[in-house]
Symmetry: C2
């Protein structure tokens, strides 16, 4: 059986202090514990490491050599422990974020840039993926996720609530007219997000009336930036999150289609694998998101 490493550490301290009592006082460990631990270490190793009496202490020949090895080993371990606390204190390292497509350039990049302005030693890596990432396999510190959390091992901190909006370019309306009911939408040209394998369903609510309609996009891609661009070009009607299209609506480049029919609101959350022993920069960024996200995204809440 390997000897007790804590006992070995006490042995090293006793040698450094040249005294059981001095080591005991310095470490805040009872003298009886120090004495017993060192004696147990000698027994486990089958070697007398120290010759001692009251007031006198001397390493044996083998004890001298063993002490040299142990001191170097402990120094390495202590350097590692110190490195950890310094790294925790200095707010540096790499933050690894997972972000759904379409959010990075309009929301996340400004947020991260502001964060890094405040914490210059932090590196940020962003994985844009539509997948629900695996925090272990994909090595993700924190994910921004739309919608409700399904994984019970993870913690979700809501950042903003917003809704999607049906939008269109004015020129399209001049040519094809405004739809008057959700059931009219399949007869219109639709630009959809996703739609790789299946058609997209739109679920709209007016008062307490719910209407779900399936549409086939003439253009479908999983990037809201591309969806926005095509919609502004008048190529069709699209469902776009308010935090992405809010500026185009404000500037008149897009108008809302059937404003009294609305999508259910959803949320954007910061998701991470529990609060316990969370890395300092992850904790800081999480809290930063909570504080800053409404400031940086005025189109939440439309």
């Amino acid at each position: 059986m390997s000897p007790d490493l804590n006992a070995m550490a006490l042995f090293v301290r006793v040698v450094e202090h040249q005294s059981f009592s001095a080591a005991s006082r310095r470490l805040g460990v009872p003298i009886s514990t120090v004495s017993r631990k060192v004696a147990e270490l000698e027994k486990a190793l089958g070697v007398r490491l120290l010759e001692r009496s009251t007031r006198k202490l001397r390493l044996t020949e083998l004890g001298q050599d063993y002490y040299a090895y142990c001191r170097r080993g402990l120094e390495e371990i202590e350097t590692g422990t110190l490195m950890l606390s310094e790294r925790q204190a200095e707010i540096s390292g790499t933050l690894r974020l997972s972000v759904p497509p379409g959010l990075a350039d309009r929301l996340i990049v400004p947020l991260v840039s502001a964060f890094q302005a405040e914490y210059a030693a932090v590196t940020v890596r962003i994985l844009i993926t539509e997948r629900e990432v695996d925090f272990i396999q994909d090595a993700v510190d924190l994910a921004l996720r739309v919608g409700e959390l399904k994984d019970s091992n993870l913690v979700a901190r809501p950042l903003i609530r917003y809704r999607h909006i049906l939008v269109v370019a004015p020129a399209y309306l001049d040519a094809f007219g405004m739809p008057e009911h959700p059931r009219d939408l399949p007869t219109h040209r639709m630009i959809t997000f996703g739609g790789w394998f299946d058609d997209v369903s739109l679920k709209l609510v007016r008062n307490s009336s719910v209407h779900t309609v399936k549409v086939e996009g003439v253009l479908a891609l999983n990037d809201y930036a591309g969806v926005l661009c095509a919609t502004e070009a008048g190529q069709g009607i699209a469902e776009i999150p308010s935090i992405i299209c809010g500026e185009a609506l404000r500037d008149g480049r897009l108008v809302e289609v059937m404003p009294d029919w609305r999508f259910p609101s959803t949320s954007l959350s910061a998701v991470y694998p529990g609060n316990r022993n969370l890395s300092r920069i992850v904790r800081l960024f999480k809290d930063y998101c909570v504080e800053q996200v409404n400031v940086l995204s005025p189109y939440a809440g439309i």
Copy 2:
């Protein structure tokens, strides 16, 4: 408080095995203990070292760096532990003996030479001193001592019993005649051992009659080799241990004075600081002395 080094060692093993379960099986430690210990280490350090779920394990960024320090530290300590057991096995190192004056060349050197012929890797250092050495302060492994042991913390293993003998050269007797009683001795030329500050007392016994006589040496020194040499040269009568003068008696260079008056016998012992965790070479040499000393010194028992 410093983190638990044994817990840190478990952490390193878990990383090496890439599995709590594999580490648990390999180390013979319950899986619940491994899990708890690593969690406690993370709490003590305030850092998540590992991201993990069932079937997946990954070091965090800080965990990776900490692991590297700890692995090097543990390797150093393990090398030291292995060094100890190898050194115990290989019978090498330095044996440090303390020997009273006058014994080294006639008894100890042959004994040590024979021991080193058998154990070639052992170095022996001999301190010839009349003092009762301090095992700690003087860094002595084993002492050869004449007489009874006074220090209760030490262990004495008797080697031989012998007595001192009053001896003289025949030429001296031709010139001055043989003393007939111990009280005659002060009128003779005496060569004494020691006698630096005080005169020397001789205590002689015949049957149950005890006579103590104080003599002043015309020559006094604390080296039996010198005492023997001067006595053989006819310069006086001397008290010399049988193990030193036995050969000169056998060869007729010296004769015994008043053979029916005798000194009390005394003993030569190997003295060492207890049997617990005694260095291998000290233990071996002690046992070797017990076995060999009568063979190498036929004049014990005269």
